[in-house]
Structures are given as C-alpha cells and as structure tokens.
Symmetry: C2
Subunit: 197 residues, 2 copies
Amino acid sequence: MPRRNARERMLQAAQAVVTRIGAAHMTLDHVSATAGVSKGGLLYHFPTKEALIQALIENYIANFHVAISRELARQPKGTLREIKAHIVAGAKRDAKTRRLGAALLLAAAHDPKLLAPARMEFKRVFRRYDGVGKNSERAAEIALVCDGLHILELLGLMPYDNRRRAKMIRHMLRLVDIYEGDSAKSGGTCDGPSLKA
Amino acid sequence: MPRRNARERMLQAAQAVVTRIGAAHMTLDHVSATAGVSKGGLLYHFPTKEALIQALIENYIANFHVAISRELARQPKGTLREIKAHIVAGAKRDAKTRRLGAALLLAAAHDPKLLAPARMEFKRVFRRYDGVGKNSERAAEIALVCDGLHILELLGLMPYDNRRRAKMIRHMLRLVDIYEGDSAKSGGTCDGPSLKA
DNA sequence: GTCTATATCAAGATAGAC
DNA sequence: GTCTATCTTGATATAGAC
C-alpha cells in the first residue's frame, strides 16, 4: 500500500519543526521523530535533507499562490488587480508563515539551487509588472517596493510596527492604482506629479 | 607573543573561503588550512564557527560604511546626499563583494542573532529616510526600493541585466531628488546630467 | 514498495599537552 | 597561544524485515 499520507505527514512534520526551530537547526532525526517514523523511513521519501527542504519551499510557494488566488477574487476589476492581490496576500501572511518562509529562504544557503523556484517567481512578477504601462522604471519601482518589503520582513529586518506597516501597504496599493491610471492614459507622462500624495 | 596578525590572517582566510565556496560549505578545517594554522588554533581566536561568521559580518558592514563615506565625498551638497551615497555605494559593489554579502546573509540561517548588526543598520537607514520631509510613506518607499534591490541582488533573485540595473539606479537617485525637492518646497536642486534616465 | 536498524563518515567542539 | 587527540552529533548509505 503506497500510503500517500506518509509523505504528506513527513512534510507537515518538517514544516512544524522548521517553523519552530528554523531550517538550520532542523535535523532529520528531529523530523522523523515528529513524524513518527525512523530516519530511514524519512530518507526513503526524501533522499537528502536538501530534497526535503526543496519540497517545503515548493509547498510554501504553492500555498502563497493559493492565497493570491483567494485575494484575487476579492479585488475589483482592473488591469493590475493581480498585483494588488499579490500585495494584499503578502501583507496578510501570519507570523508563523513568515517564520517558515524566512527559514526556507535562509536554508537555501546550503544550495543556491534551492532558490531556483523563488528566482522563477521573481522573474514572473517583474515581467508582469513590466508588461503594463510605458514607464518601466516606475513599474520596477513598485515591484521592488513590494518585494523589498516582503523579503525584509521575512528576514526580520523591517523595523516597522503594525500601524506603520499598514500605512505602507495602503501606500503601495495606491502606487499601483496611480501607475494603472497613468498607463491607461495614452498621452500621459508618468513622471512625478501624479505620485504626489 | 600576542600576534595581532594571527586573528587578522584567520579572518582573511575565512573571507576568502566564504567568497569562494559560500558560508554554508565553509568548514573550520578549510579555514584553518588556508590560514596555515590548526583547527584548534583557529578555535582559540574564534571559539565557535558562528563567532567567526559574526566577525565576518561585522567586517563586511564596516567595509560598506567605508565605501559609503568615500561616495559621500563625491556627492554634491544636499539634505539627502548621504542616502544617495548609500545608493551609489551599494550599486558599485563588485561581484566578489556581493557574493560575500550573500553568503554572510545566508549564514545567518544558523542563528538569527547574527542578523542583529544588519537589523541595526536597517533601523538606522529607515530612520534617516524618515527624518526628512513630510510624506513618510514616500520616504519609506524610497528606502524599500533601495534596500529591496540591495537584498534581492545579494540573494541572486534580481532578474535584471546590467543595463536595466543602471537605469534603475538612476531612477532611484532621481526619486531621492524629487523627494528632497518636495520636502524643501523650493525649486528643487536636481543635479542635471547624472539623473537623466 | 515501505520501513527499521545499523554503519559510516564528515565536521564542530573540548581537553589537555607543549 | 597553538597543537594533537578525542568526543559527539548529524547526514547519508546499506542490509535486510515486513
């Protein structure tokens, strides 16, 4: 009987361990104990520790995509509603999820290849932002603000409190709106004025 | 004889190793061999591997400050010249330095405490950006764009080529100018040529 | 096919010799 | 201050039990 659950259970256990003590301190013994299997059993499903972390990262990104889809349904019509959904979904991640993301990001230290999915994700996002409007620097600016916030928060480097953060999120959404409006106007230049708050 | 050089030599060796193969794959054996001492000798100066990495990180940040100071001397007068110097210095780091920074950042996976210096650095930067002007979201926006670019590049997540990147840097400097101009509520002293996209 | 038990090997850390 | 010898832990590899 190929128990589909076993693999899933091990992934969940790994996720729990990583969230609790970080990917760097996660050991195979720890995960297998949490999952209720032997180390060998774990290694049967994930031949190396890296494979396990890789699976966690893919899982994390997939979950994020689900969250974005959920937000997308709530966004009003608009060319860039997908981007806004991205921002809101990112803003809504809870502390536990963020901790998991940070741990996984840092786990890539052992193999830059592990960042490949993330790299693809960024490529996709930047292309998406770039594809709309005429001022691609402005677009990149928005992309960088969003993803900069995202990553700085993951790493715990963002010195904002909740109130400040909420204001910043609103500001970002406004940026998208303005950019969307500018892009829609055929003759409109994208410099300065419309960005003044 | 307390050889001041010994510690320094070991630090240099560690830096070389990290730059070459990454902090995760750096072993004490490797470093001690490169430095020409035994593992025990190395561990006398740096009681743990983490202590060694910590020293490398502090060294890295100190070097970055030196680079900023150098750029500061080249910047024309202006309220936010320090910020522009920061941007330019960040943009100018060579590949080797970037690789080192990335490795050190990722090394923090083993202990979030290692990120403490970086955290302090960001706090300082954001406060500096925040202190000038009235629109603090706008200021934060600039800060996030700069540091977002910085970190995404360190992690190799930035999908830009050199030309695109240069344009983005110029755009960022222009953002600072615009913000400075808005804050001063005067004509805005933009330094012409270097800011054209 | 799925797992347990056990073996191996690398690398961080410690103790004490010099 | 620095080295050698040794301990320990954790990641893999292997041998088979069910």
